[in-house]
């Protein structure tokens, strides 16, 4: 292929390393997301175990307070931005084109760029541990403690890291919004889309609209720290509460960004293993949309103790409680999906069924502190820690594990061991309940969050030790998953196209799918298309074996552009010359990107 002046030759897929570095295949990018995010998940888990080790006994001496404050801050940042969000992105990447019957996402190179920028942001955040200390003000970085006077260089890593990660998420969200709106197979109307695709679309729009608000807040914080403005600093006339508003206008939609993908996964797994369609499909879609909308009207419930007036407290309490309605609809519809079914209890189904109960616990405790008076006792106590972990571990992580077991045969052609899977499930289930349920009791007994030490005699000893033991069991459960994955890699590829008798389009192609996903673009005649075909004796179109299906060639430019973005970000943290060097890299990458032939 002739090269355009000044650009590189298109990479060839010869070397294994280069083929991964330059890939634009959504499935490979999904794998990259998944592997990176899982490694960050393990790092975040180690951070959590250190926290639990410190809190296991009163006046614990495992780690000093400075490190403790870095650990709980980084545990949140790692789990939210580097584990749960990108694990969701891994599923979006791998599954969405398959589920909508497309051969790739709308912008394959942009997709690769999202991943490489995510990796850059993750490395910036995590490297802060070794470069002068990690951020230590909590992931919410309330001013003025996040200002220059009260916190160190870790907060600069926080600002830069989150700005870079925001760029990555924005690019990915734009890509998936366009892909879902524009790239669906013939016949796949919006109201025939699998619920997982719907939830992805809602998540994409939440990201697109929430991230810019965080970006503005971070930029203003950066200016406060570096350029002597006083947006949030009362000493210069600024207002610390403004930061809280901006942060939570982003932060609450972020909660739904974390949980909706898991709700989508569960909405796929339950029908497949109950062998019947999802109960109340339309209600599920509208409930998801309603949660997405209401998510914008509740942010101040994170601020009930900050001295909001009576009227805002009444309004935000009410809007928050109302979110219980669409959530309740979802729970009842999941339950009714099992009703009258013939349920196969695979590991994926174990996780999905337990999701319903565990998420319900997090939902109910959430409605409790939707009431501002109750919140005045529970805010910033372990009751909130219990609540959010039931939503994020009992909800998001359990949903993600369900998805891993469900789609693993599709992604690799191999089955994960069901025996190890059951061990995996029960250890995680027991471990997470032992860890997080007693935190309700601790919160009621008055134990605040984010304390590295506590005295004996406050009635907190027993349940803290209990929770720490539970955390170990939870960790062993995750370890069993790692063993299961390692083991499956040596298994033969025995999974057929549709091993679980699923109804959605990803099961219409081979396992693992070919590079071009489908030999022929599938046709959709109803909701649950494969079951419709089965029941009506129809079949999907066959591909022409001689046809050459053209796929976008691999590209160096996403990687180079991400490197430029990394240099741009690292500059303020090290030497501004790095930023200056990053600019030509970015210009070069964009130039090559635009001129690179994609046909």
């Amino acid at each position: 292929m002739a090269t355009v002046a000044g650009t590189m030759a298109a990479p060839t897929a010869e070397g294994v390393v280069w083929s991964w570095l330059t890939t634009v295949d959504h499935k490979r990018i999904g794998v990259l997301y998944g592997v990176s995010a899982f490694i960050f998940f393990l790092i975040g888990g180690v951070e959590a175990l250190l926290i639990r080790a410190q809190l296991a006994v009163p006046n614990g001496g495992v780690i000093d307070p400075e490190l403790y404050n870095q650990l709980f801050t980084m545990h949140a940042l790692t789990m939210i931005f580097l584990a749960v969000m990108p694990l969701g992105a891994a599923f979006f990447n791998f599954m969405i084109p398959l589920m909508i019957g497309a051969r790739d996402v709308a912008f394959p190179r942009l997709n690769a760029l999202s991943y490489w920028i995510f990796l850059a942001g993750g490395l910036v955040l995590t490297s802060s541990f070794f470069l002068g200390g990690a951020p230590d003000t909590g992931w919410f970085a309330y001013a003025p403690i996040s200002g220059g006077t009260y916190s160190g260089s870790g907060m600069d890593y926080y600002v830069i890291g989150l700005l870079i990660l925001g760029l990555s998420s924005l690019a990915a969200a734009l890509n998936f919004a366009v892909t879902i709106i524009n790239m669906r197979a013939p016949g796949l109307t919006m109201m025939r889309m699998p619920i997982f695709v719907w939830m992805t679309l809602i998540v994409a729009f939440l990201l697109i609209l929430a991230l810019p608000v965080l970006t503005v807040a971070l930029v203003q914080l950066l200016f406060d720290r570096q350029f002597t403005t006083s947006f949030f600093l009362p000493s210069g006339g600024g207002d610390p509460i403004l930061w809280q508003h901006l942060f939570w206008i982003f932060g609450h939609p972020e909660v739904y960004i974390l949980i909706l993908p898991a709700m989508g996964i569960v909405s796929e797994v339950l029908p497949t293993f109950s062998r019947k369609p999802l109960f109340g499909y339309a209600a599920m879609v509208f409930a998801g949309v309603a949660i997405g909308f209401l998510g914008w009207a509740v942010w101040s419930h994170h601020m009930f103790t900050t001295g909001l007036g009576a009227v805002p407290r009444v309004v935000f309490a009410t809007s928050t409680m109302i979110i219980g309605v669409p959530t309740g609809i979802k729970i009842f519809n999941w339950l009714s999906t099992m009703w009258g079914g013939s349920i196969r209890f695979t590991t994926a189904m174990y996780f999905s069924v337990s999701f319903i109960a565990l998420f319900t616990i997090g939902g109910i405790s959430g409605v409790m502190h939707a009431s501002p008076p109750v919140d005045q006792q529970q805010q910033d106590t372990y009751f909130i820690v219990a609540h959010l972990h039931y939503v994020l571990v009992g909800g998001a992580i359990v949903g993600i594990f369900s998805g891993l077991y469900y789609w693993w045969p599709k992604m690799t052609g191999r089955f994960l061991s069901e025996t190890l899977g059951k061990w995996n499930f029960w250890l995680m289930f027991i471990g997470l309940n032992m860890t997080f349920f007693p935190m309700h009791f601790l919160g009621v007994a008055g134990m605040p969050r984010r304390i590295y030490t506590y005295d004996e005699g406050l009635g907190w000893e027993f349940w803290n030790m209990f929770a720490s033991v539970g955390a170990l069991i939870l960790a062993v459960g995750v370890l069993v998953f790692v063993i299961n994955v390692a083991r499956t890699m040596r298994q033969p590829k025995t999974a057929g196209d549709n091993p679980w008798d699923g109804s959605t389009l990803e099961w219409a192609t081979s396992s693992p799918p070919p590079e071009h996903d489908f030999d022929a673009i599938p046709e959709v005649r109803a909701r649950d298309p494969l079951w419709y075909d089965r029941d009506h004796g129809l079949s999907q179109p066959e591909g022409d074996p001689d046809e050459h299906i053209h796929m976008p060639p691999p590209s160096y430019y996403p990687l180079i552009l991400a490197l430029g973005v990394l240099m741009l970000g690292v500059g303020p943290l090290s030497h501004l010359a790095v930023t200056a060097l990053g600019v030509p890299v970015i210009i070069y990458a964009i130039w090559g990107w635009v001129l690179e032939p994609t046909e």
Partner: protein, 367 residues
């Protein structure tokens, strides 16, 4: 059958868990043993949401387990292809709507009640959060000046009389929380937040109600605690009278030496590498000449307080010596930020152990 057996086995465990959860009522910092009108209101809404939540949870848990068990794969079972049921779906849209209304109305009521201005006869106190201790300033004569009585980390209030707090902060955000007396309200720099409540008539007791900073505020956040003593009206008046008196004069020679050391304005570092301010650079002892520092806690009656260092050490000779020698060892972070010059230096670098002991004796005498 199998499930009911295992359920029976689970029952004692569940009962044990509930029993332990209820035992939380007797914990010193419990949120569910209210001792004021405001805490009572919160408790009412809490119990309402708790029992409603429990009912919903048990219902959903029973449905989840029941459906999963009943509709498990069995030979000959064919899944019914049901897509939905509009009537059912309307019903379970209405159930949460009703529950929301049941919870929302009392919530609004309590918000409205707690947002009313405090009664005119309320005791007025400024509570100021600082890294990492609390200052309390009383306006006893209702003249709008909070200068009648200044103390730190220990608050005395009379039972049965409303008390209203103006919550302030000097550096970063803190939060004022005494679970048994009131829900928390943040102390935000640049803002003034209000909180008022009336302790029950029978809430007076010798033992303190425990409070703690509830908004992350830096290294020693975990060690930023305070105590509230609810006194009988007579006991409160006696306490006020004592607090308004000047600091006690030294009772013996050792204390006399301690006072001299305490009043020394500047200490030169050994080796001549500059100096550090003495105690009076930051602390006030009313009546002691020159002891008018405002940066640290007012020590006029420090010996009468039950704890030092924001509620983490009992007030006694050993702890005072250890604290003056090296505060950072007792409370990591206490000397962490030299820039702001607000944290207490380790006096063992400039004073001998004997000198520090003398200061401790003097301080213990400040009853």
């Amino acid at each position: 059958m199998r499930s009911s057996r295992s359920l029976r086995r689970l029952a004692p465990i569940a009962l044990l868990a509930i029993a332990l959860a209820l035992a939380a009522c007797s914990d010193p910092q419990t949120t569910v043993d209210p001792k004021s009108d405001f805490a009572d209101d919160i408790q009412f809404v809490y119990l309402l949401t708790f029992w409603l939540g429990m009912a919903v949870f048990i219902g959903i848990l029973a449905l989840t387990i029941g459906l999963a068990f009943w509709y498990r794969e069995r030979p000959g079972r064919v899944a019914k292809q049901i897509h939905g049921n509009t009537r059912l779906e309307i019903v379970w849209t209405l159930i949460p709507v009703v529950l929301v209304v049941v919870m929302a109305v009392p919530t609004w009521q309590v918000i409205a009640d707690s947002s009313k201005p405090a009664p005119d006869d309320a005791l007025r106190v400024n509570a100021i959060g600082r890294q990492w201790w609390f200052e309390f300033q009383y306006d006893l004569d209702n003249d709008g000046e909070y200068d009648d009585l200044i103390t730190a980390n220990e608050l005395h209030i009379p039972a049965g009389r409303p008390v209203t707090f103006s919550l302030l902060a000097d550096d970063v955000i803190h939060s004022f929380w005494v679970p048994q007396l009131a829900g928390k309200v943040d102390m935000v720099p640049g803002h003034v937040n209000d909180l008022w409540f009336t302790p029950h008539e029978d809430a007076a007791r010798a033992e303190a109600y425990l409070g703690q900073c509830a908004e992350f505020c830096g290294t020693a956040h975990a060690n930023m605690r305070f105590r509230v003593f609810v006194d009988t009206p007579e006991g409160f008046d006696a306490w006020v009278a004592n607090e308004q008196a000047d600091g006690a004069e030294p009772a013996d020679e050792l204390a006399q030496l301690g006072q001299e050391l305490f009043l020394t304005p500047v200490w030169t570092l050994p080796g001549g590498g500059g100096g550090i301010l003495g105690c009076t650079g930051c602390h006030t002892v009313a009546g002691a000449p020159g002891a008018v520092g405002k940066i640290g806690p007012n020590l006029t009656h420090v010996g009468s307080r039950s704890t030092i260092a924001a509620g983490i050490l009992d007030t006694n000779f050993e702890n005072l010596v250890a604290w003056i020698s090296n505060p950072d060892r007792e409370k990591p972070g206490a000397d962490y930020n030299d820039d702001t010059a607000r944290f207490m230096p380790a006096f063992e670098t400039v004073l001998t152990r004997e000198q520090i002991e003398a200061i401790a004796v003097y301080l213990l005498g400040l009853q």
